[in-house]
């Protein structure tokens, strides 16, 4: 690559239902916050990269065009990215490649969803659509993860309780429960066996934004830059003979490519913390294995031993993650934004002490889109 990319500004809205803002107002909120964080204005931005999940979620078609004034993009290039639920992640990665290519000096990237506009009932099972819904589709895969790995039944409850407790430290959270215990999660209604109600993400409104720049821009930054060390995106078909959707090949290959480019050989030791896209609690151990952080069949052990708690040796979803807030399009970007927050040391109550290298991951579709990156407080972190 021609240039290095650094994140020098981040912004996010609160993720509760926003009836006071238009969609334009929502994305602008995050964009202005990121610019303010970077000490810049729209005038400093060369291009805008926007992402969101399917337009049908709000029924506003080609929103990237109608949002260009809200994002200060008039007279500038605006690009739209779409890769289902992983879109926020792939949007940020796409924005970073625009810096790395040398094409633009400073780029604003924004991702959002306003799910209250569409009342996201089609994620639920049954009803007039007759569909299995998101939970109904993922639950059998989770059941098979449990069977194949021999994980105890309460691992999902432990993940959910951890994430909801972490979320209570994040002022932006949509749903958080400061005192939630795995036992209480286990007592909540079983919605998609083996998924309990409290193991499920909410349906949120919100936007996230980042300002990225090259090495020259990073020198002038008022913020401590978070350097993009490596990134990777991978895709596979959602349905094909022989596919394993529990541990998808695309997810493993995405991680392999990511670590190789970064020079990471032992991710659990060399990465300080991670934000993973976990919309249903059991995805945490599934992704720990898919992304080669845990040995096959052993992701759940990291949950059981508390390794993924803040204070553990590999904290996951310190911000509360998707289990606390799920504005779908923004969700993937938040997974890549929160690692920036960590390596800058600006994560407040959910800061991992001394975090220097952090992993962000987003997935979408039926476990078939992946976008990941690694950021660091150092431009060239020593992984020895």
């Amino acid at each position: 690559m021609a240039e290095r990319c650094a994140v020098i500004g981040i912004g996010q809205t609160d993720f509760k239902t926003r009836l006071d803002l238009s969609m334009d107002g929502l994305v602008r909120w995050a964009a202005l916050e990121a610019l303010e964080d970077a000490g810049l204005t729209f005038d400093d931005i060369d291009a805008v990269v926007i992402g969101k999940a399917p337009d049908a979620l709000e029924g506003v078609i080609m929103p990237e065009l109608s949002l260009c004034d809200a994002l200060g993009a008039i007279g500038k290039p605006i690009h739209r990215v779409h890769t289902a639920g992983s879109v926020g992640g792939s949007t940020a990665v796409s924005a970073s490649t625009m810096i790395e290519s040398g094409m633009y000096n400073t780029v604003l990237t924004v991702a959002y969803e306003k799910l209250s506009d569409g009342n996201f009932m089609w994620a639920l099972s049954g009803g007039r659509s007759g569909g299995a819904g998101a939970g109904g589709s993922f639950a059998p895969w989770i059941r098979n993860y449990i069977r194949r790995s021999g994980a105890p039944d309460d691992i999902g409850c432990k993940v959910a309780a951890k994430d909801r407790r972490n979320g209570a430290k994040n002022p932006h959270s949509h749903v958080s429960q400061a005192d939630l215990t795995p036992e209480v999660v286990a007592e909540s209604p079983m919605i998609w066996d083996p998924i309990h109600f409290l193991e499920v993400c909410p349906s949120s409104d919100g936007a996230a934004a980042m300002v990225m720049t090259n090495a020259e821009g990073a020198k002038r930054s008022i913020q401590k830059p978070a350097w993009v060390i490596s990134h990777a995106k991978r895709t596979e078909f959602g349905v094909f003979p022989g596919r394993d959707p529990v541990i998808p090949v695309a997810g493993m290959e995405c991680a392999r490519a990511l670590y190789k480019k970064a020079g990471i050989t032992d991710p659990r030791r060399q990465i300080d913390c991670a934000e993973l896209y976990v919309p249903f609690s059991w995805f945490e151990p599934m992704w720990l294995e898919t992304h080669l952080i845990a040995q096959p069949g052993e992701g759940w052990k990291m949950v059981e031993t508390g390794a993924t708690e803040i204070g553990g040796d590999f904290p996951v979803n310190m911000s509360g993650g998707v289990i606390c807030s799920n504005p779908i399009g923004a969700t993937g970007m938040l997974r890549l934004l929160e690692p920036v927050n960590q390596v800058r040391g600006t994560a407040g109550d959910y800061q991992v002490e001394g975090a220097k290298v952090a992993l962000g991951q987003a997935f979408g579709g039926p476990n078939n889109y992946f976008a990941m990156w690694i950021v660091s407080s150092e431009p060239d972190p020593d992984f020895s």
């Binding site: 969609m23 659509s129 098979n144």
Partner: protein, 416 residues
């Protein structure tokens, strides 16, 4: 642009699975269709036509409001053209209507504009030395946030340009031939696109004067108003409503027809005949339903690649769904759905409803046989090119134990 629209198609269907993995291009290589309900840009791809239609509808959505809508749901309902008998290409297309009610939070500027319309006023907003109508949240030149400085404009204005709608659809704001016109309201510096009632295209012209007429029933929508030639305008006295317009409802509905590709038609014919027809891919595994192409080898599959699979398979996983009672929910009791892989198939069926086997007797590894409905009761109404799985539930009455011992767990394929 096409890439973007194709993805919209996926979401319109709500059919997550086959689409998202399929990647581009979505042209179904080698497929041809005898009838093309849409023919945009010379494309043979019905998906593309569909999304273009969705795009048009969404534009209509910007100007169309329906008060008192049901709370949201996603609904696809079908008007079959073929229930029984042989499936031939000419018996399709099948008609669908896709409908979804949305809400909008118009925010501080458009909300005030809509409130004004409800109250019989047309409001512009000050942006520098210009008055914008309809108002905008941000300065269209500088992107700066505009102060909430509203100005009454109209109710009369000048037609800057127009087009005649000779055959309005049920979605148009006026149900008789009318004009869409760019109207610059008196006091405003920008034009608003709106409907003008006129006796015919000869009765409207650029430069003509028109006046706003407010409807009897106003709900805080852009359709609360329409325009007539100034001379035809009636004096109106409008009683203001209460409160601000903070949320609006918008229903998008999309009727469309889908013409089956040859492999889809053979699959559908198989279902009517009580057979599961898949396609053998180049690596020897069987894709069911077939896709007309081999996703991995990237080659076209034809009738020569069709394979009939036995109606017997193994349970790879399952879940019990406790239906959440939202408006539009049709399920009331928990129900079991299972992921089954047919013998000889390389990929699983999407979750199949199991209503006749008690949950506590259900287990991974069970061997099940599909029991077809009587021939006269099988229907293929919901077969479409992109999402053929649900139709299995319309021809299979239920799944029952095949009488064989369970498949040992360590012999299950890892594809869930």
């Amino acid at each position: 642009m096409f890439t973007y629209r194709l993805e919209l198609t996926n979401s319109c269907f709500g059919s997550f699975f086959p689409h998202l993995g399929r990647g581009l291009p979505l042209r179904h290589e080698g497929s041809t269709k005898p009838s093309k309900p849409f023919d945009f840009f010379g494309s043979e791809c019905v998906d593309l036509a569909l999304v273009v239609a969705a795009f048009v509808l969404a534009e209509i959505d910007q100007a169309w409001d329906r008060p008192g809508q049901d709370p949201p749901y996603l609904m696809v309902h079908y008007e079959p053209s073929s229930k029984q008998g042989a499936v031939t290409m000419s018996e399709f297309p099948i008609s669908f209507t896709l409908e979804f009610p949305y809400t909008r939070t118009p925010g501080p500027v458009i909300g005030r504009f809509l409130t004004g319309l409800r109250d019989g006023r047309i409001l512009g907003i000050r942006s520098g030395d210009r008055i914008l109508c309809p108002p905008m949240e941000f300065d269209p030149d500088t992107c700066e946030t505009l102060a909430l400085d509203f100005v009454d404009v109209g109710p009369s204005g000048t037609v800057e340009n127009w087009t005649w709608i000779a055959e309005p659809t049920s979605k148009h704001p006026i149900q008789e031939p009318f004009a869409f016109a760019l109207v610059k309201l008196d006091g405003a510096d920008t034009v608003m696109t709106h409907a003008v009632k006129a006796s015919g295209p000869e009765a409207i012209s650029t430069g003509m004067r028109v006046t706003a007429q407010f409807r009897e029933e106003r709900v805080g929508a852009v359709t609360d108003v329409y325009f007539v030639p100034e001379a035809d305008a009636e004096k109106q006295s409008i009683e203001p409503g209460e409160g601000e317009v903070e949320i609006t409802t918008h229903t998008i509905s999309l009727p469309y027809t889908d013409t089956l590709y040859p492999h889809s038609a053979r699959f559908a014919q198989g279902l009517l005949d009580g057979k599961f027809i898949g396609q053998r891919t180049r690596d020897g595994t069987v894709s069911f339903p077939g896709k007309g192409y081999d996703a991995l080898a990237r080659v076209v599959l034809t009738e020569a690649d069709d394979v009939e699979l036995p109606p017997v398979g193994t349970v790879l996983s399952y879940t019990t769904i406790a239906p959440i009672q939202y408006k539009g929910q049709t399920e009331t009791e928990p129900y079991l759905t299972a992921i089954i892989i047919l013998d000889g198939a390389g990929q699983t069926l999407t979750p199949q409803d199991i209503r006749n086997i008690p949950t506590d007797e259900f287990r991974v590894g069970m061997r099940l046989r599909a029991v077809f409905k009587p021939a006269a009761e099988r229907d293929i109404d919901n077969v479409d090119n992109d999402w053929m799985y649900p139709s299995i539930g319309n021809v299979v009455d239920h799944w029952e134990s095949s009488g064989e011992p369970d498949c040992p767990l360590d012999e299950l394929p890892e594809s869930v």
